[in-house]
Amino acid sequence: MALKDLPREEYLLPGSAACPGCPATIGLRTVLKALSKKTILVVPACCTAVIESWYPNSSFNVPLLNIAFEASGAAASGIVSALKQKGRDDINVVVWAGDGGTYDIGIQAMSGAFERGTDFIYICYNNQIYSNTGIQRSGATPYGAWTTTTVSGKGEFPKDMGAIVRAHRIPYVATACISYPEDLYNKVRKAKEIRGSKYIEVLTPCPPGWRFPMDRTVEMGRLAVETGVWPLYEYENEEMTFNGISRAIFEGKYKRKPVEDWLKLQGRFSHLFKPKRDEERIKRFEKFVDDMWERFRKEFG
């Protein structure tokens, strides 16, 4: 499939409150094209809640329930239940939540919804920070990254949310990235046809949060995949398939670019390079990525 096969209809209307170069809106445009009109979005507190613009106007042309930060999975469960009772389970119920509302404060409600086999799609758009509140660290923030609450660089590695979600044994778990729109589109379309809980985590590189020029959003996402920091995969019925470059990395057919190719383009990692190169931390990051792929090969090879 090619870009020209994507539907023309826009469900996110131009003129929203998003930052110029915002990856969430890039992701949303593609995702909504895959879902189309019969969709109800559940959006917790996150950048998108602001991107919607303010009352009495909305930039969204699908029904959208804003909900409290921690409650997406539960609110979605309620909507799915109501629609089922009304015989309208042909409507897609989709959570669109940030990494904060997924990895951290929202993890309980999401986990509960998955455990109940709720028939919905949970999409986490991951910009690796609490972006909406001004760039604080989240459970998804990478090692060594500056945030306003990890001023000398985060000391911990992020949670493996994919593994946590896979452990719920839901029918479909996937990762995606806004830089690969056909892949994202296909994954959403596939998820939409599956009954049960589906999870897709989309990497969304944030210019103000990661400190890079606003025209390089798509490039940042591509590099994350090419360096192996962000794997693209689908986990369906306990079978793992890697996609695109990630598959080539997994199979050893493509040597992933060094992690620092990605790190050095982002201001949030600048302290790893200036005033002095922090070899130890760069090496630890590189090892983390190596280990991740080793684990993948052991578990799914």
Binding site: K37, K38, T39, I40, V42, A49, V50, E52, S53, W54, Y55, P56, S58, F60, N61, V62, P63, L64, L65, N66, I67, A68, E70, A71, G73, A74, A75, A76, S77, G78, I79, S81, A82, L83, K84, Q85, K86, I91, Q108, A109, S111, G112, E115, R116
Partner: protein
């Protein structure tokens, strides 16, 4: 019409079943558990109209109810004490979203330490949320109030959630006979819900995005107006129920022997029932006393309070305390009278943490006031009189 003898909780579950909710999302907590268990039994027997979602916390229970209600469903849930407190954020959310959710709160003391017995601190602490609040004193009243709550909540001039409260163990686990109408009769009284806003792909709306200060006050004022509308509808609904089904528990308040009373005792929930016995005993001694049992705490019955104070002094008995101030009923009664009455108002607090309060204790408190011994708020549990 049949008579069922069962516990407050089982009667609540029965009322919920007969109201035919589309979605119930609930989480167990003592002493509410037998409600959710009974509903699960109904589901297993195929007797329950709705989908029952066993959520993983009370915050999620209310969040799921909000989602379901926003999608057009009639929704019900139940909780108690810590569960109620955990969903506090979402209680505000449901009311501001104008969703007619009905919830039972089985009153229970708040910890630490863990205390499963009853007082009304848990629900009193929610009186700012915008929810309509009812306090019940009998299992019949629990049944009637739950079904009436749906009618009130879903009325086009209200569109606010309603919580029906009653004492843990004293009512929740005590059996009483209850007259139960047939399903068809309930359906005639309570038609299907017609949502006043709904999530629908045919008419895409966004609910709850950013609202600027200049627009926000109108949301609050509309909620206030809705509760004022509720004040007018509550008597109508109670009287319609009496006409159809024969049972009646008063309206915003229930008056008992108030007509010629020199002193009226104001209280709520189980103490409201216990107080009737105290009033009877005091009347035997020739004392001119009456009881005004507060049923609706929100909307607060200011007009009724003013009316009671025309010819009587008021003795207020709270089974709750707003630490740093007084029992909520005491404060709000005085507030209702301000500048409009010179009736005396006496404040008593008793039964915190489920400490037992019998009609003899209530007689002591009333006599304390009548005998002119009152100086300041009396903490009866601490040996106040």
């Amino acid at each position: 019409m049949k008579v069922v003898v069962d516990t407050g909780n089982h009667i609540a579950a029965l009322a919920a079943k007969l109201a035919k909710p589309d979605v119930v999302a609930a989480y167990p907590i003592t002493p509410q558990t037998t409600i959710v268990e009974k509903i699960a039994e109904y589901v297993a027997k195929g007797e329950f109209s709705g989908d029952y979602v066993c959520v993983e916390s009370e915050h999620s229970a209310m969040s799921a109810c909000i989602g379901a209600s926003a999608a057009g469903a009639r929704t019900f849930t139940a909780t108690s004490a810590h569960g109620l407190l955990l969903m506090h954020e979402m209680l505000h959310w449901a009311a501001l979203a104008r969703l007619p959710i009905v919830m039972v709160n089985v009153n229970r003391a708040v910890g630490p330490g863990w205390n499963i017995w009853s007082d009304q601190n848990d629900s009193m602490a929610q009186r700012d949320t915008g929810w309509i609040q009812i306090y019940c004193s009998s299992n019949q009243e629990i049944f009637d109030s739950i079904i009436q709550a749906f009618k009130l909540a879903e009325h086009k001039d209200v569109q606010l959630p309603v919580m029906v409260c009653y004492d843990g163990f004293i009512l929740s686990h005590t059996s009483m006979p209850v007259k139960v109408p047939e399903q068809k009769e309930i359906d005639d009284f309570l038609p299907k819900r017609e949502p006043k806003w709904v999530l629908d792909p045919e008419n895409p709306v966004t609910h709850g995005n950013i609202i600027m200060p200049k627009d926000y006050p109108s949301i609050r004022k509309a909620m206030q107006d809705a509760q004022e509308n509720a004040k007018k509808l509550i008597p109508d609904i109670a009287r319609e129920w009496r006409e159809r089904f024969g049972t009646y528990h008063g309206e915003l308040i229930e008056r008992y022997m108030c007509d010629d009373a020199e002193y009226i005792l104001l209280t709520y929930a189980a103490l409201g029932a216990e107080s009737k016995i105290a009033i009877n005993e005091l009347r035997k001694e020739g004392k001119k006393v009456g009881l005004a049992r507060i049923r609706f705490f929100r909307p607060f019955p200011t007009e009724d309070i003013l009316d009671l104070a025309k010819n009587s002094d008021l003795i207020v008995l709270d089974r709750s305390i707003s630490i740093g101030m007084e029992g909520a009923l005491f404060t709000e009664v005085k507030s209702s009278l301000y500048g409009k009455s010179d009736a005396k108002v006496f404040g008593y607090i008793a039964g915190l943490g489920g400490k037992d309060v019998t009609y003899k204790d209530i007689e002591k408190m009333v006599n304390h006031a009548i005998d002119g011994k009152y100086r300041e708020v009396v903490w009866y549990d601490m040996g106040g009189c």
